[in-house]
Point group: none
Chain length 194, copies 4
Amino acid sequence: MPRHKLEDAKPRLLAAGLSLFAELGIERVNSNSIARRAKLAVGTFYSHFDDKYALLQELQMRSLDVLRSQRLAALREAAPDPEAQARAVIAAAVEFARTHPEAYRLAFGRERAASTRQRSLISESNRPTAEVLRRLQQAGRLDPDLNVDLASRAYAAAEAGLLLWWLEDPTRGEARELIETLARLHPVVACRLS
Amino acid sequence: MPRHKLEDAKPRLLAAGLSLFAELGIERVNSNSIARRAKLAVGTFYSHFDDKYALLQELQMRSLDVLRSQRLAALREAAPDPEAQARAVIAAAVEFARTHPEAYRLAFGRERAASTRQRSLISESNRPTAEVLRRLQQAGRLDPDLNVDLASRAYAAAEAGLLLWWLEDPTRGEARELIETLARLHPVVACRLS
Amino acid sequence: MPRHKLEDAKPRLLAAGLSLFAELGIERVNSNSIARRAKLAVGTFYSHFDDKYALLQELQMRSLDVLRSQRLAALREAAPDPEAQARAVIAAAVEFARTHPEAYRLAFGRERAASTRQRSLISESNRPTAEVLRRLQQAGRLDPDLNVDLASRAYAAAEAGLLLWWLEDPTRGEARELIETLARLHPVVACRLS
Amino acid sequence: MPRHKLEDAKPRLLAAGLSLFAELGIERVNSNSIARRAKLAVGTFYSHFDDKYALLQELQMRSLDVLRSQRLAALREAAPDPEAQARAVIAAAVEFARTHPEAYRLAFGRERAASTRQRSLISESNRPTAEVLRRLQQAGRLDPDLNVDLASRAYAAAEAGLLLWWLEDPTRGEARELIETLARLHPVVACRLS
DNA sequence: AATGAATGAGATTTCATTCAT
DNA sequence: TATGAATGAAATCTCATTCAT
């Protein structure tokens, strides 16, 4: 006996999952409670997702997509100078974390779609940075001794780690300070030549 | 019917827990399997730990203590120059991660003693760095605009993130490169004046 | 894999619990055995009751409700004389114990919904008696020195204790004798004036 | 490695058991906690008692012995009149309950040495009353229609039930009132002829 | 597609009892 | 006799998943 309009089950499950995961962490959440919060039956949950990890993964992918597109937009509007561009991309990330704290926590926090041997999301969002660094290095504008993969990975960890920590208590700093701090650690800045 | 010598139950449980947590993550491990791997009865597990999270926490604390003391030892032997000291402390961390990969993963990886609202272990190991930066800043040897808390937190995240990523596949870089990369991002270096 | 019709799980669990508690006492009974006797899965037990004590409490409440209503019915049909009324109410209790021995044992026997600091069920069923005595005393038809609370509580214990003992071996007396004996101890009779 | 003087292990276990049983009820108490409260090792518990039920039974027996002897003493000092004697015996019970509330609760409360098909302790303490009634009835001083077994059993339940209830909150009445109330319900009084 | 009671494997935890010291 | 760490059977409880409606 179908009781709800058909169209909105999936978005409701995603929203319910997002808030529950953010509150409790995946391992403390179960499919029944997600359905309950979405005011749907458990069975409905299973007709949309294989399990809670699938829902988590979808949430993470959606978050990353939004973040990615906001970074690209920022990039397009930034001055064509590597440092300005790095700063713009960082600012986009800080803004995303500020406006979607639950999504950011879910995508970059400790939650993993368990079973899945999913590539780290940090690595995922890291790839473009490595590319940029490589190009700068070839252009002679970056320390040639730098291991570009390590540096971009270290920076990505710094960004995610700092923002997650900040989200726990946003009085820990102002957006401006966050951006400034991250910019100084960004390889484009910290390892530039001259 | 007690069958084992008295002295070794707890160390065996710790060792069994360390290897199982490292292999599977806490949520895939249960008290029965820890006891089984330690060749002890379940009850023995519970006469030494309240639950698997307590065992995890003890492992984390022990790892941090060892890491802390190795950092201090490195510090004592380093030249009295801030940059040399930062490098020495980084080298000690890399060495610890290399020689105790499971312990490092457990202490800094995503595993958390759940329910416990335990202070992040990264923050914990972060405190001394912030102190050093504050002193340098007062001595006028560090950018006075730097928010020392944010910077040290960002660096700590970079270090932990990079080492965890490296441990997944140690061919990703040489110890030397890791140290070099982290040194460049360390606030003492990246934000020094002149 | 749900296998049963929906309607009958709870009644079946109640019936299974009643017979098992009566046979063995709560502490010798466990949720698995209740479910097994009801030919249901353990999980089904827990989707209807928090634990075995909750089931016990529901059985006790239901028994008391039935007993209460039978006492009221008896009262309505009795002559408007206090002694006749007491006798009618006693007879109703004896009849209830005779026809629902397990329910009576569960409600008045030693089984308690443990942890619960539940008001004694004897006290519960005692309240009306105390009221009646108080009114008779004010009307000058009962010894004015009598402590009505103590007397009604003592009587209630006598009634419950005698019936429980009788249920252990009904050849210990005839219903008529039980009623007669209890009537003589009832404060309305034992403490009447003139 | 014996650590305690040999002589006092058993009394200490009995005292520990008495207080724990009184606090929590047998089913919430276990041999380990009894030994712990007695500041002895578990093993010592098992060298003195088969299990916690054996300890309970010993406590109950000891309590009954003391109560019995106090009743006898009271009887010896009472006037040779049945009613005075009943009153004296009741007073002894009230006094015992007042001075040894834990022991009284243990002996007459709902705790049972489970497994044991032990005769009810109430029945046990009931026997003498039935004897007395029978003699009075033969002497023509008691209603010849009275079923002496039922009456004495009902009275015993009233006495135990009232005193247990009173012990829960001794402000419920004064010793004098308790004695008076119980005396009125005692078959010797309530069923005497003329 | 939606429902939700029912399922039962499996995890957590307790505690009476043993036995080497 | 006393000790107490170790044992492991058994109880409690959870929750992902199914399927008749």
